[in-house]
């Protein structure tokens, strides 16, 4: 049933105000008026209403040093809405409970046995908090479509309905996103990439994945299997059944540990190690060229161990990219490393949950 227009409008404004505070932090009523383009009295009424429902509080701001009464700041109450986020990796499980405004209220990690199913561990680590939180989101490395993990090199899952399994283990509904997409959302909301319209995040774990977010929003189909782009037709055999995949050519299984040794050796002048690095860089650049041509991002972030790979082999990566992309696609393309580091996926998973909540409020 459609709501009366006035009520509907009020709901929308309420969601917009909460979202503004959540993303940009505590601010004055005047700043809110300007940012949302609403009347001052509307903001006043909304703020009173939200303060009564316990979502926001008005605090005395820091003195700016100038004369006069310090202006009051409107801030979120973190405990009023919480989102549970877990990141599932092959060898560990990480959990964060994030409150409105982005504050991390709880944070824990646990090691997983190789090959063990993580679902029970998820229910243990989230404990009672998952049931109490408004949303629960799991970040899984691999190709994810809605709740299903179509393929994950790292976890060895193929066509697993992870959302249903998580629900069975914990007794609540879960959203499932891929790690790279989650990290992209995280970097867009809380990192340095907030001006990016089309952000491509590359994640190097065991296996390589990528996620594309547009205006900071995860898209269906934005999960990309970067590691299974063929860079060497007829090349090495990959566990996925294809030949010459980027992952197979880069020997990406268990690559993380091995990689630092290789860069160190290359730095000390080992010619074979240098040659390997150059080849890895080139392979990555070629695969990226295909992805850039297909999707046209304006910023690429190199996450996981790809950060180290990019910073150590930027010359071959960018040379290969220059040789395989159209000039207008590469001229505005920014190549960067993430600022949130390993926390990105967890923060981004929580932000995905908040984005869904704000959508429901409207």
């Amino acid at each position: 049933m459609a709501l009366p227009p006035a009520v509907e409008l009020r709901r929308r404004n309420r969601a917009a105000l909460l979202q503004q505070l959540h993303r940009h932090g505590p601010q004055t009523r005047a700043a809110l008026t300007e940012a949302l383009g609403l009347n001052r009295s509307t903001i006043g009424a909304l703020a009173t209403e939200l303060a009564e429902s316990g979502h926001i509080e008005e605090t005395t701001g820091q003195s700016t040093g100038s004369a006069g009464r310090p202006s009051t700041l409107v801030a979120c109450v973190p405990q009023s809405i919480t989102v549970a986020a877990v990141e599932i990796r092959a060898d560990r499980l990480r959990f964060a409970l994030v409150g409105l405004g982005g504050e991390v209220l709880e944070r824990s990690e646990t090691a997983l046995d190789e090959g063990a199913d993580p679902m029970t561990a998820v229910s243990v680590i989230t404990g009672g908090t998952a049931a109490a939180s408004a949303e629960a989101v799991a970040a899984v490395p691999g190709l994810v479509d809605e709740g299903t993990v179509a393929h994950s090199t790292e976890l060895g899952w193929i066509d697993r309905d992870a959302a249903a399994d998580l629900e069975a283990a914990t007794g609540r509904e879960w959203q499932v996103v891929d790690t790279a997409t989650a990290a992209a959302v995280g970097e867009w909301t809380r990192g340095d990439a907030r001006d990016s319209r089309k952000l491509l995040y590359l994640h190097g774990g065991r296996g390589l994945t990528a996620g594309l977010v547009i205006e900071g929003r995860a898209q269906r189909g934005g999960s990309i299997q970067l590691g299974h782009i063929v860079v060497e037709p007829g090349g090495r055999e990959c566990a996925c059944g294809l030949r010459g995949c980027l992952e197979a050519e880069m020997e990406a299984f268990g690559f993380g540990e091995d990689f630092e040794t290789t860069t160190l050796a290359a730095g000390m002048g080992d010619a074979a190690a240098r040659d390997r690095l150059r080849r890895f860089g080139e392979d990555l650049g070629w695969a990226l060229g295909a992805v850039v041509t297909a999707t046209g991002p304006d910023e690429i972030l190199f996450g996981g161990w790809l950060r180290e790979l990019y910073l150590s082999t930027a010359a071959p990566v960018r040379s290969a990219l220059a040789e395989t992309t159209l000039p207008h696609l590469r001229s505005k393309l920014r190549l960067r490393t993430p600022v949130l580091g390993d926390e990105g996926a967890l923060i981004g998973a929580a932000e995905t949950g908040f984005a869904a909540l704000f959508d429901q409020m409207r």
């Binding site: 010359a315 960018r318 040379s319 220059a322 000039p327 001229s331």
Partner: protein, 255 residues
């Protein structure tokens, strides 16, 4: 354009070290300056920094021609240089080094609180997480941390152009990566960066444009997005690459 060099020339006696060099650097971008030993990279930097006078051409800042006659002139224009040897005092702590020679005073006393707060703000704006204690002496810092302090020192003074002379030359692998990320962040925050390096990986990791000097002349200035490693290597070693670069067979001499 923030800084524009047009027809810059510099001679040491009969030796022409820089001849007719053009280069422009805008805010928000990293321009990498590459070239072989003796190509004139350091001389170019010293001309911009006011250490050497110039013998010809013009230096334009914000569209206005400027005579830079000393390091103080350069600093007044917002140009800061971080040299290879960093010029930090080992016996002083991080904050004291950042404000060395330009201490903030409160009456007759040093305003330690204000300096410490400003130092902390600067480091956090650069997302520096490697330096935990601002009051530890610089002697106890690693090479990468020292480089970070030296760069932060250059950024602290409302500088607009930061010139970095081989900032990663003496660093380990992990520290080099941190410094590269820092350099990129400087430009993303709106500063202009002139970055001198011998390491092409480092150049490609941060640069928006790559300027190649060859025997005192500007061989070419390329967009990093269009450049390939082999092109840049050719420009450094022979001054030309395909249709790019200096005219054929001049061997660096003027025709």
């Amino acid at each position: 354009m923030l800084l524009e060099l047009t027809g810059l020339s510099k001679r040491f006696g009969p030796v022409e070290v820089l001849s007719d060099v053009d280069l422009a650097i805008d805010a928000g971008e990293v321009c990498a300056l590459v070239g072989d030993n003796g190509a004139g990279k350091s001389t170019l930097v010293k001309c911009v920094a006011g250490i050497h006078g110039i013998d010809g051409g013009a230096i334009t800042v914000d569209g206005e021609a400027r005579h830079i006659t000393g390091p103080r002139d350069a600093a007044a224009l917002g140009i800061e240089v971080v040299y290879q040897d960093l010029a930090l005092c080992d016996n002083l702590d991080v904050v004291e080094n950042l404000f060395l020679g330009r201490e903030k005073m409160r009456g007759m006393m040093l305003d330690d609180d204000a300096m410490e707060q400003l130092a902390a703000e600067t480091l956090s704006s650069l997302a520096v997480r490697t330096i935990r204690n601002l009051r530890q002496p610089v002697a106890s810092l690693s090479g990468g941390q020292r480089q970070t302090v030296a760069i932060a020192k250059a950024v602290l003074w409302n500088s607009r152009l930061v010139i970095l002379d081989e900032p990663t030359a003496a660093l380990g692998v992990a520290q080099t990566r941190q410094v590269l990320e820092l350099i990129r962040r400087l430009a993303d925050q709106g500063l202009a960066v002139l970055y001198i390096s011998h390491n092409l990986n480092d150049v490609f990791a941060v640069a928006d444009r790559i300027a190649a000097l060859y025997l005192g002349r500007m061989a070419a200035v390329l967009d990093a997005a269009d450049a390939t490693q082999s092109q840049v290597v050719e420009l450094i070693t022979s001054g030309r690459s395909g249709t790019l670069g200096l005219g054929a067979d001049t061997n660096g001499a003027r025709t």
